[in-house]
Symmetry: C2
Subunit: 447 residues, 2 copies
């Protein structure tokens, strides 16, 4: 079965083909595969790269991490740099300069043509995480009075440059978006059909300021390949393609998972020690403060503990189970918010369900731990105290697992960001309070 | 700005249009919007649905949750059911019957034509989470000796039925995949060009047994709209389209986040109490066992605690901080594995980095807590004991945050699945052991 090219084969070809052979054969090779190969053969990196046509180098740069693009580009002569940059689309140029400092941006911008420069300036003005920030300005637009035959001829000239020619956007002379025609509709109709006859006027667009996560959920809902981006007057500004969306989704997923785990969203598994410490230490210090809060609750009950030391033994169980139950609710609620499955209509019902989940699981876990406490301490009241404390703490846990992310969402803070810290603080503080408080109330039965 | 149709407008149109108007206008409305509308107006659900053309009802069923599809279908007459099923593609039919019991599957299969039935049987034989399980059998294939003009004519007949006509797969007479031609290449070349001249023979395909998560990462790497699925002999079986991949990614993300949070991957935020308890209780019981393990370590040191009760006060800090540090490492490592950024080549380096992160953050947090312990207990040795215990525990935490998911991965268990339980068990057990063990060793300095 033919899959990706064998790396050894590919390396040999890239090094040994004549320049003519290379120009011809390179079309059938995917730049992502060449980039993987280059990274596995750092010694030959530029030796291979320099043999490739300009457009292919541009395509490789597209696949590379934004931070690396300029570093690679700089290795070429100024003339070659201009040619490579000339092959890049406006959104790719924007990604390239988006991570550079002022001096470097100037350097790149003076090497591209007037039209691209204008597009890049425009694109740089949009927030990076919005529809405007991820769109490309290369799209195909047509007027509705053309025939299919004329459109096909026009495409034969225009399409190779366009980011995606599978949807053609129908506009009037003020660039206002009037509808959309798919390339499929064009090839499935007779040559003399007018574009207006096959135009879908109910085109779904996104405004340039829409958050990229919301744009991604539109793609998911509608299953589109591309979506047009418009301004306040419904003038078309650019298009977003689904392959950008796949990247957005990956990015947003990493962000959510990292935030739930209490690390910076930018931290990389193969990053530096310094970056990891910078990513994690702030959260650990926040956690330390909340842990001290929980500890001070325990501290207030030192008198009780000194009378019944077994309380200390059971403390980790109360706190730990509360933390776990809270994390479970939190996980479901945070993900539910991200997927848009939790809203005003079902919020109350879900809150009550979470409360009941806490009650039911609390009764099961509480009963087990009560029996265990009774056996350990040979004291009936001790079993009751820890069992009741467990039920109360697990109800608090599931409630706070619901309330905390919902409040954060209302405050327009990402629910994934700080929820875990708040929830475990609540379960630790109240868990210890219930357990040691009840024990203090019934201390005469425990000693 | 025109976005999705206003719901009220849409509702009115769907209820008041004549049947002819409806047939004509419905083409411009997206089935996903109609489905949203139906769910917001449950009372009119079937009243509206019954007015719509068969192909549009089929499109709405595609958008609906798999579990609901058959329930909706059953409301129609047998004759209408046949027509609706006739409009569905093979992969959609497979999704529909995939969640039914044997009796229901029989009922559906007898309502579809021979060819679809064969395709569905075939598709049902693939594992649901593999390339074969998510592919469609409707794709366009051509022979390489045709011209573009002939291909366009052929497409005008064939394409409306095909899942995605943007890529045409070039095959020989044994159905062996020879290459790929994009619709863009076809419209950008002269009518008399031979398909063989514009065929990319280095087509990248996936085998039917490849895991859907891996298929998604291929899409991400290459930025394709569709990919062909092949058997062991490189015969083309079907295609996967990027909109299916967007769904796969969403599904896999939910799975990872849920598993990290210790809940069942299937649990829904708006699901029933019963499902939530079933999803969470097993994990809580596993956690209870590990919490009891940790508690028994504390229990072994009750003698020491009864002599220095402040140890109980500081216990939650040692265990909590270890748990947090472990979760951080775990999060980075699990996500790194999912993104393919952690492999054999950099594994050792990352392990050492995690160890050093534990050491560095441990020294910072350990120093703070040592000072705090000294102030609280007015005992220099107490400060040293808790500070050293903290450093040791945080090193253990980051190490186990690395080792546990890596081992699970080696054992072919999803690292997200059970990592959190193991890591917190290690940090709780060893955290208490270090802290209380050191305190016992130096007990004469503490009292």
């Amino acid at each position: 079965m033919k899959k990706e090219l064998n790396e050894k084969d590919l390396l040999e070809k890239l090094l040994n083909y004549t320049q003519e052979e290379l120009e011809e054969k390179i079309e059938d090779i995917h730049p992502a595969d060449v980039l993987d190969l280059l990274h596995d053969n750092e010694d030959d990196f530029f030796k291979i790269l320099k043999r490739l046509p300009d457009w292919f180098i541009a395509a490789i740069l597209e696949e590379e991490d934004d931070e690396e693009k300029y570093e690679i580009l700089k290795k070429f002569s100024e003339n070659k740099q201009k040619k490579i940059l000339g092959e890049m689309s406006s959104d790719e140029l924007t990604d390239l300069v988006g991570v550079l400092d002022e001096e470097e941006i100037k350097d790149v911008l003076k090497k591209i043509n007037e039209e691209d420069r204008k597009d890049v300036y425009k694109l740089l003005s949009y927030e990076p995480d919005t529809a405007g920030g991820i769109m490309a300005t290369e799209f195909v637009s047509i007027r509705e009075n053309k025939t299919i035959e004329k459109t096909l001829k026009y495409l034969q000239k225009e399409a190779p440059d366009a980011e995606s020619a599978y949807y053609l956007y129908v506009i009037n002379k003020e660039n206002v978006l009037k509808g959309v025609v798919s390339l499929r509709d064009i090839v499935c109709n007779d040559f003399d059909t007018k574009i207006s006859e096959i135009t879908n006027t109910n085109v779904i667009s996104v405004p340039y300021y829409m958050d990229q996560e919301e744009v991604a959920s539109k793609f998911e809902k509608y299953g589109f390949m591309t979506m047009p981006v418009v301004d306040e007057n419904n003038k078309i500004l650019g298009i977003v393609t689904v392959d950008d969306i796949v990247e957005v989704m990956q990015e947003e997923t990493t962000e959510d998972i990292h935030r739930l785990g209490g690390v910076d969203e930018e931290e990389k598994v193969d990053g530096s020690l310094r970056d990891s410490v910078k990513s994690r230490l702030p959260w650990l210090i926040v956690n330390l403060i909340t842990a001290i809060l929980a500890a001070s609750v325990v501290g207030a009950f030192e008198g009780t503990i000194s009378q019944v030391v077994t309380l200390a033994t059971f403390m980790p169980i109360v706190a730990g189970m509360g933390g776990n139950a809270g994390t479970q609710s939190l996980t479901i609620v945070v993900r539910g918010i991200a997927l848009g499955e939790l809203d005003k209509d079902n919020g109350m019902r879900i809150f009550i369900k979470e409360l009941l989940v806490g009650l039911v699981t609390g009764i099961v876990i509480g009963a087990i731990i009560a029996v265990l406490g009774f056996i350990w301490e040979r004291n009936f009241v001790f079993g009751i105290v820890i069992g009741v404390a467990m039920i109360l703490n697990m109800m608090v846990a599931t409630m706070s697992g619901f309330i905390v992310p919902v409040i954060l969402k209302k405050l327009k803070v990402d629910p994934a960001l700080a929820s875990a810290v708040f929830v475990t603080t609540v379960t630790d503080v109240l868990g210890f309070f219930f357990f040691l408080g009840l024990a203090t109330m019934f201390i005469s039965y425990l000693i």
